[in-house]
């Protein structure tokens, strides 16, 4: 599946992924490939994107997450890469 993480000032991440864990407004959600169309508001916390052996983590706050046709779009009010 394809993941995009978008912050107001710029897109933070774009690439393929095997799984994703996001902080939704009411707790964490995990998204795997072929997830049903889904939309949720985000809370704040750590967003983790895994692809094979590599994983990327971002601190996100606010905004929403949208899954449609194996495209995951995380649109956050704040998003920055976690070191």
């Amino acid at each position: 599946m394809h993941v995009t993480v978008i912050a107001p000032e710029s897109a933070v991440f774009e690439g393929a992924a095997d799984s994703l864990i996001a902080p939704a407004f009411d707790g964490e959600v995990g998204i795997l490939p072929r997830h049903a169309p889904f939309m949720t508001l985000l809370g704040d916390g750590l967003l983790t994107v895994r692809h094979g052996e590599t994983s990327h983590a971002f601190y996100v706050r606010g905004g929403f997450l949208q899954v449609v046709r194996d495209n995951v779009r995380v649109v956050a009010e704040h998003a920055r890469a976690e070191e």
């Binding site: 710029s10 407004f25 169309p37 939309m39 949720t40 905004g63 929403f64 449609v68 779009r73």
Partner: protein
């Protein structure tokens, strides 16, 4: 005829000026490039918000949001209280850039007042604030500390209080006057109405394929409620970023023509200088020849 020494001094001075304008042109060019990159970088976010609003757009649902509330029908478009936010730059030396923005802002305020609305003016940028202070127009807010690299926080600072007042029913419309960044040379002052949000233009529905049947959490209503303020803030942010890019473009154009003019002036002065120098040499020779002839005679 002017003294050659005097001319040489003027040539030197114009050359220095040209050096400065040339440098400013190059600085503006690189700043413009970076500012335009920021405009482009902000696009995916705006597109995502537009798309989501379009997908969740449902007339019944949408009637319930205060941010969408249209002014009641009545005389003069029904707008009784409006805010116009004018964006200008903090620095000058960019040709008619700020003047055009100020002119547009004044025209917009006048047009709204003509329709019977009470208009509050808010200005961003030292140039605009300075101008309206000078003509003695009261401003509801003055922002002089937004740099040429505006951030989302800047946008929030300006628009959030206005959103609150709009939601409270204190305002009927909020408009922004900014310099749309069409290209490096075309930066027309433009008016957009940010509030009430116009769902028809906000929602950029992608054609092709039925809209997916989403699982929505917590609910479509709450998602729209959360996304609308983001959309409004983003509109403000985009106006700031585009104006910043336009400012650098305008400055580059102004500095380029200043550099060209200085070049022309140098050419002209040099021609006059050469003639003066030649004249002086000719005169000196004829004096020497005349002197020698007098001695011999």
């Amino acid at each position: 005829m002017a003294q050659p020494r005097e001319l040489r001094r003027r040539i030197k001075s114009v050359e220095n000026t040209r050096k400065i304008t040339k440098t400013m042109e190059m600085v503006a060019t690189s700043k413009m490039k970076r500012a335009q990159d920021r405009v482009v970088a902000a696009r995916p976010y705006a597109a995502a918000l537009s798309e989501i609003i379009a997908e969740l757009h449902d007339p019944g649902l949408v009637e319930r949001f205060p941010l969408l509330r249209r002014p009641r029908e009545g005389g003069g478009g029904g707008i009784r209280r409006a805010v116009v936010v004018g964006i200008t730059s903090n620095r000058g030396l960019c040709g008619g850039f700020n003047n055009n923005l100020i002119k547009k802002t004044r025209a917009r305020v006048a047009a709204l007042e003509q329709e019977g609305a009470e208009v509050e003016l808010q200005m961003i940028g030292r140039k605009g604030v300075g101008y309206f202070r000078y003509i003695g127009r009261r401003m509801g807010a003055e922002y002089q500390d937004i740099t040429d690299r505006p951030t989302m926080d800047d946008a929030k600072r300006v628009i959030d209080p206005l959103m609150e007042r709009f939601e409270a029913g204190d305002l009927d419309a909020v408009e922004i006057v900014f310099a749309k960044s069409v290209s490096a040379i075309s930066t027309p002052p433009t008016v957009i109405r940010v509030l009430p949000v116009d769902v028809e233009t906000a929602g950029d529905r992608q054609e092709g394929g039925a809209v997916a049947n989403y699982i929505l959490r917590p609910s479509a209503h709450e998602i729209v409620g959360a996304v609308l303020p983001l959309y409004v803030r983003n509109t403000m942010y985009r106006a700031l970023v585009e104006t910043a890019a336009s400012e650098q473009g305008a400055r580059r154009t102004a500095m380029k023509s200043a550099t060209d003019n200085a070049g022309e002036m140098i050419d002209k002065l040099r021609r006059v200088y050469n003639r003066a120098r030649q004249g002086q040499i000719t005169q000196e020779i004829s004096e020497i020849v005349g002197g020698a002839a007098a001695q011999q005679g």
